[in-house]
């Protein structure tokens, strides 16, 4: 393993309910306050759930211009904007090519759970109201799950491997992991990788509510409460985060600012149920063990775990059992970003990768919002009340998706 190509993070960009730049995002995470609030994007009349975690202060026309903004669904707008911020933070306005990278060895891996759902919902209504001849010619490029990946390639002229990962709530983490493997295997020297999602739409809100996934807590700010006894579901969020992953020697040669290193990646499948996790967290255990093995680390080397921690009764119990199995009872501090951000679905793993990198940079792990009373069967050491000093030790970040997809990243 000593001769394996190493992968470092040299750029970060994000648009989240907790802020649209890394410094703001960190400050909000450390505050431990939920960002859930009444939904402003659409009328929630008739919906039993009327709140979510929305991205504020994002102006698509200012980012893309009038013509392009109306040709790109919000999910891809958020993703492409986050990717651009990551690319410019790594390379400046010239992008990878301007920094001497071969565009044919520069790739994109973009995760999403769903794709351009808002546009799809709008156009289905048009179809029913006015018939097939009024359906927009832009529907296909706006709804397709791979739109973000394609648009990032176009914006920066990246002609290397370019694909979309759609593993539901594991997509953001899977994308970063698969991107790291592209660099390790020698296919790429730089990959823009992350995830994006805007499933805050009228039909999706109803659908996630109908399947029992959403919190019905009457107080929005108290609804997302990972690992807490009163947790009853997640809060739907939207957002995006992208990283620039770069081969370590190339990054070093150009004097890049390095955020951290992708030390390990694991991915497994529960092969159990289309939405419910395996009770024992067996797939998650295997995934975390695979990531640790890939990183060449033992559980004791990990400073804290950034949990998937959705605030659903099933996920948090199974994840607690899995973390306990891998690390031992109470042996590692655990935080969940989703208490603050809500659940960003296909963006979650990428946003939490940024949280993990920031935690290493600050030597602190942010608290889990709304963790007041330990839930039954929750045996992990949950960081709550305020940030905890954990030092600059490696962070293990979990993401689990409907379908039974598990993805674990280890950053150092």
């Amino acid at each position: 393993m000593t001769d394996r190509r190493r992968v470092v993070v040299t750029g970060v960009g994000l648009f989240t309910p907790a802020g649209n730049d890394p410094d703001t995002f960190w400050d909000v995470l450390v505050s431990g306050r939920s960002t859930a609030a009444p939904i402003e994007a659409f009328s929630t009349e008739g919906h039993p759930i009327s709140y979510g975690c929305e991205v504020r202060d994002f102006d698509p026309e200012a980012r893309f211009g009038f013509k392009e903004a109306r040709r790109i669904d919000r999910a891809a707008q958020l993703g492409v904007a986050a990717a651009s911020d990551a690319v410019t933070s790594a390379f400046g306005d010239g992008g990878p090519a301007g920094a001497g990278h071969d565009p044919a060895r520069a790739g994109v891996v973009a995760g999403t759970g769903i794709g351009g759902l808002r546009t799809l919902e709008d156009q289905i209504a048009v179809f029913h109201d006015r018939g097939p001849s009024r359906v927009s010619p832009l529907l296909v490029p706006m709804m397709m799950a791979n739109a973000t990946a394609g648009l990032i390639g176009i914006e920066w002229g990246l002609t290397g491997p370019n694909f979309c990962v759609a593993t539901a709530c594991a997509a953001g983490a899977n994308s970063i992991g698969e991107a790291a493997r592209l660099i390790r295997e020698g296919s790429c020297d730089v990959v823009v990788a992350g995830g994006t999602e805007c499933a805050l739409t009228p039909v999706a809100l109803a659908a996630f509510w109908r399947m029992g996934a959403l919190s019905s807590n009457p107080d929005p700010a108290a609804a997302s409460r990972p690992f807490d006894a009163a947790r009853d579901g997640f809060v739907m969020g939207e957002g995006a985060a992208f990283l620039v992953l770069e081969e370590a020697e190339a990054a070093d040669a150009r004097g890049a600012t390095v955020w951290g290193e992708v030390l390990g990646y694991g991915r497994t499948c529960d092969a159990h149920h289309i939405t419910a996790p395996a009770d024992t967290g067996s797939g998650a255990v295997a995934c975390m063990e695979a990531a640790l093995t890939d990183a060449g680390l033992s559980p004791a080397d990990i400073g804290h775990v950034n949990a998937h921690g959705t605030s659903t009764p099933l996920n948090d119990a199974a994840e607690s059992a899995a973390v306990t199995k891998v690390f031992g009872p109470g042996a590692v501090p655990v935080t969940s970003t989703k208490g603050v951000t809500g659940h960003l679905i296909g963006a979650a793993g990428a946003v939490e990768a940024v949280a993990s990198l920031l935690a290493i940079r600050h030597g602190q792990a942010p608290p889990t919002a709304n963790f007041d009373q330990r839930g039954e069967g929750i045996d992990v050491d949950v960081i709550a009340g305020g940030p905890r000093t954990v030092g600059a030790k490696p962070v293990l970040s979990n993401s689990f998706g409907f379908g039974g997809h598990n993805a674990t990243l280890v950053f150092g």
């Binding site: 211009g65 009038f66 013509k67 109306r70 040709r71 009024r134 927009s136 010619p137 832009l138």
Partner: protein
């Protein structure tokens, strides 16, 4: 409806889709070269005009339209006489 009135309707539709300067939308303007419109944008522009005039333009008749003037010719043939 005369050609100038039709041009004004096409101009409004084009500005609504592309955000271009209205003055750039002349009969001589080339959709791709002058207005940076691709085939998807042209479909959107024609859809907006169809809605405004309550007419139908078959998709296949758009494939040879390259200029605003050509679009005006096509649309004029669909507008009922006296409208």
């Amino acid at each position: 409806m005369d050609r100038d009135q039709l041009l004004e309707i096409v101009r409004e539709a084009t500005v609504g889709v592309l955000g271009v300067d209205p003055a750039a939308v002349t009969a001589e303007a080339h959709f791709a070269d002058d207005l940076d419109a691709d085939s998807l944008a042209l479909v959107e522009i024609i859809m907006a005009v169809e809605d405004r005039l309550d007419i139908q333009v078959p998709e296949e008749e758009l494939k040879d339209v390259r200029t605003v003037g050509a679009a005006l010719d096509l649309l004029a043939s669909k507008v009922p006489a006296g409208a």
